[in-house]
Symmetry: C2
């Protein structure tokens, strides 16, 4: 039970409690409480995705990424391994987290604040769409790996299942809005909708967006079509 | 003329051109074009305000702040002088810009991203309302100055004249919304209204907010009551 509770996100618990309370009171569920799944909003700090080839260049032949922390999306994890990014003006970001498992391309996702500190003019791209973007040098304990391209600011997006998409009335590639409450609340426009049977309902924003509104676990969030 | 144009903000020029174009076309002005003043939105990078006493402790007896760049509000300037902030865990921010002229209190305004890097849990405060906040150590070329309190994230706010307040139908201490367009646009809620006869219409947001939406000089912005 303890393990199960640990794996439940706060938003899921709130969603379940809200549904139970309305049922007990014999009242109809408000629209959001009737949603098939709880909305989880997570801040992605800067990170990178690597190919197995890059992992081996950086951490040694045959090296496999190891799990530091499982992420909310099934099978995704923050690796124990981190590396150093060297930018075009020899400025450096240390302890850049690698997300696993390995992919078929190398991609570094930074916030604009990071880009300004590094001297990168970051393009805003959908994850995976890295053609023509700037590259950088990566340094690991066993060597260097030069990325010819792939340093981006990722477009804000929401992962969802077809069931969620149908509830919200949105289509893959469409756009939604995310309202975030609290004393410095805001509403993020143009959140890209990504739909897959395997996806859990989750919004990914970066540290600039999360810090602009001081997003905390208890901050109320609402997804609008 | 060159000097005059240099001092005009892009938004002021656009506002004047918009009004002239509608007049030429003989069309009625849309509401925003009829506003008494152009809206200017500026990002405040981290900075501090100091008393003359603190300036002298840091830069030497009798030292006066010198002007690096005039700001949009009359008489306000970014000083040439910068200093080093030392946080509670001995982490440091170098080249912290001082804004002049001197005030009657010492205050450091950081973004949450800066606070996280430093290990500060920043309170969200109206500028000047620093009672009970954390302090820090400041280091200048001539010495140290210990601030007992005054490290904050400043509440987002808009400066305006009574004429602007009347146009937008808002009162001092009220709240407005700022819509910012572009490919990663957003709307900032709870922008505090500050009214004074001497104020030019200007929104101040911090680097987290400015980078969340990649605010550029040409990004469209709209102020909503």
């Amino acid at each position: 039970m303890a393990a199960l509770v640990q794996n439940l996100h706060r938003s899921n618990v709130e969603h379940l409690v809200r549904q139970a309370v309305y049922q007990r009171l014999g009242k109809p569920l408000p629209k959001l409480a009737a949603a098939p799944n709880a909305l989880v909003v997570n801040v992605s700090a800067r990170h990178c995705h690597l190919t197995q080839e890059a992992v081996e260049a950086l951490f040694g032949k045959g090296h496999q990424l190891t799990v530091h922390k499982w992420l909310y999306q099934e099978g995704q994890f923050a690796a124990r391994e981190t590396l150093t990014l060297i930018g075009p003006r020899s400025r450096v970001i240390s302890n850049l987290r690698i997300l696993g498992p390995c992919r078929t391309l190398n991609q570094v996702e930074l916030a604009y604040t990071d880009g300004i500190a590094l001297g990168f003019d970051l393009p805003l791209r959908l994850s995976g769409d890295i053609k023509g973007t700037l590259g950088c040098m990566l340094m690991g304990p066993s060597g260097f790996f030069e990325m010819a391209e792939g340093v981006i600011r990722a477009l804000r997006h929401v992962h969802m299942s077809p069931e969620d998409a149908s509830f919200y009335g949105v289509k893959p590639g469409g756009e939604m809005r995310l309202k975030i409450g609290g004393p410095c609340g805001l509403a993020l426009d143009k959140m890209l909708v990504r739909v897959d049977k395997s996806f859990k309902l989750e919004v990914h924003i970066d540290t600039d967006e999360g810090n602009a509104c001081n997003l905390q676990p208890e901050t109320p969030c609402e997804l609008l079509a």
